[in-house]
């Protein structure tokens, strides 16, 4: 189990890229923080989620 935006998620072993696609996020509108560090978009495919990870997906909305 790991936490994504405060919720328990069973996604250990998946890459960040596949988790994000499955969860329905639009990759061009998000930033992802994992265990206190931002994961650059270019690393989503090679970042494998692990038990105990704490992930925050920041989903940007328009307006400014």
């Amino acid at each position: 189990m790991l936490k994504v935006n405060g919720q328990d998620v069973d996604a250990a072993g998946k890459t960040l890229e596949s988790y994000i696609a499955e969860a329905g996020y639009n990759q061009v509108r998000i930033a992802v923080e994992r265990n206190g560090e931002i994961v650059p978009k270019s690393k989503y495919g090679e970042t494998v989620l692990a038990d105990g990870d704490c992930v925050e997906v920041v989903n940007f909305v328009g307006g400014g």
Partner: protein, 212 residues
Amino acid sequence: MAADLPSRKQILEALVKKQGSSAVEKLQRATIAVCGLGGLGSNIAISLARAGVGKLILIDFDTVDITNLHRQQYKMNQVGIPKAEALLENLKEIAPYVLYEVHQERVTAKNVVSLLEGADIICEAFDKADAKAMLVDTVLEKLPQKYLVAASGMASYDSGNSIKTRKITDRFYLCGDGQNDVDEVVGLVAPRVMLCAAHQALTAIRLVLGLD
């Protein structure tokens, strides 16, 4: 003929009286970049200029549109001119002793480093979600030593109390309600945009003062 303007020394003394000498000294040494000079950016820049930030880097590719006037710090006679130029004109009337570096161009993943490497703190103030995400991603990857203060969610007529500042990492702060997309809800109203801009400007000032 207008009366003589206050001198730099008089303005600094006034700032010290209201903000405290230690804060003013730190703010005077700071360089803050504002990316996007719309509803968020124009308000952030004016707050920071008034507070006595030493240098502001101001970037926007766009021109002032009539639909900007309800929430952005421009005047009717500035419609059609570049925002970077119009805001500089207004800032020079408000706070002429700040050093301004102005760029009339679009921020892309390619020019982020050259435009922003001189800043201590970067405020993301774009309106499009994908531009926001691009800037956050690029700054945190290529300029990891900078502080970044971004915004997401200030549309609607919801209570102002829904707008908050969250610390996402040691270097990345996010202001806004996180929810209300301008393309999905009705209403983009000056007070909520200004609240979000105020959260960003205050976060930048607190970072300069070492308070967070």
